[in-house]
Symmetry: C2
Subunit: 196 residues, 2 copies
């Protein structure tokens, strides 16, 4: 991709995030083009529709999460690395669902390969972090990364149901991951942080 | 309430559960009256509308859950009693949401006092079971029953998203409550049951 094309793409995605945040996921594409300072033609060439735009935003976030996850693979404490990454995934899930909730069913139904790639990337990154914590003995051997991600997603969903309680996600996270850490090592796990 | 009036009420509620299960929560009240073998007048006298019927079904389930919870207060193991009751709440939440998902927002908005009473009854029963496990030292001191119920509800929501995986709720439950039990007592908690 040429530099100016890449710049345009970035500018459109940044504008889309802003406009979605202000107006919800049904914001018009023309408004987004306007905010980005590009012509509608440029926007449609990069993103043929609302779904393509949403998938691109999700992909960007997932790239960032996976880069972060890979860098956590050298963190001195494998269990803290795993929990810290899962916590970021939960925050991402909350932000994304707010953004795309009304579109998510359509997105899933579209079986967009970029979305499937996001799913795989998150699972693989999480699996590497979990495997490291399991080798270290600080996460139980039987845990499946798919279940762990479903759990994190459920916590994100619950926290969205209570917009008046911004600390809920942290409390639920400490509550639900209390059994995950340091049992083998005999250290105080996340439970110790619940309610502090 | 006279015996025949109570019988009619029970018959209508049983028929409503069946018809809802077959046709979803938008089933017609006339169909429910037909199935129950009562006239539409009898049904409307007991339940002036769909919401009243749904609230009555929820109240019945909650009564059963609270009776069960009270009987668990004499269970020899306070932590097993708590977990076992929370597991039943999760099952109830799953069944109920399947039934009333499309009506739940309206139900909540209606601020029906019977629904608020259900909420309070579940919280009080759970609080008694949790307090007992905390006194026993088998549940951590800082946990709040409200958070625990939000967590259980989130697991129920997640399991509904995966209708093809009926064992998911059990796995999530073991995963998320692994930190809840027996830390103080040093026994193997629910984690030990995850993935068995």
């Amino acid at each position: 991709m040429r530099t100016d094309a890449r710049d345009n793409r970035e500018r459109v995605l940044r504008a889309a995030r802003e406009v979605f945040a202000e107006q919800g996921p049904r914001a018009s594409l023309n408004r987004i083009a306007q905010r980005a300072g590009v012509g509608p033609g440029t926007l449609y060439r990069n993103f043929p529709g609302l779904q393509a735009l949403l998938v691109a935003i999700i992909s960007d976030d997932v790239d960032r999460l996976c880069t972060r996850g890979r860098s956590l693979l050298t963190h001195p404490s494998p269990d803290e690395a795993l929990l810290s990454w899962l916590r970021e995934v939960a925050t991402h899930a909350t932000a994304m669902r707010g953004l795309v909730a009304s579109q998510m069913a359509a997105l899933r139904a579209s079986r967009d390969p970029a979305l499937a790639a996001c799913h795989d990337a998150i699972r693989d990154t999480g699996a590497a972090l979990l495997a490291r914590a399991q080798r270290d003995g600080s996460a139980p051997a039987g845990v499946d990364i798919a279940d762990l991600l479903v759990l994190v997603n459920a916590l994100a969903w619950a926290s969205e149901q209570a917009p008046d309680d911004p600390a809920l996600l942290d409390r639920l996270f400490a509550l639900a991951t209390g059994g995950l850490l340091d049992r083998a090592a005999g250290k105080l796990p996340a439970w110790g942080r619940y309610g502090d």
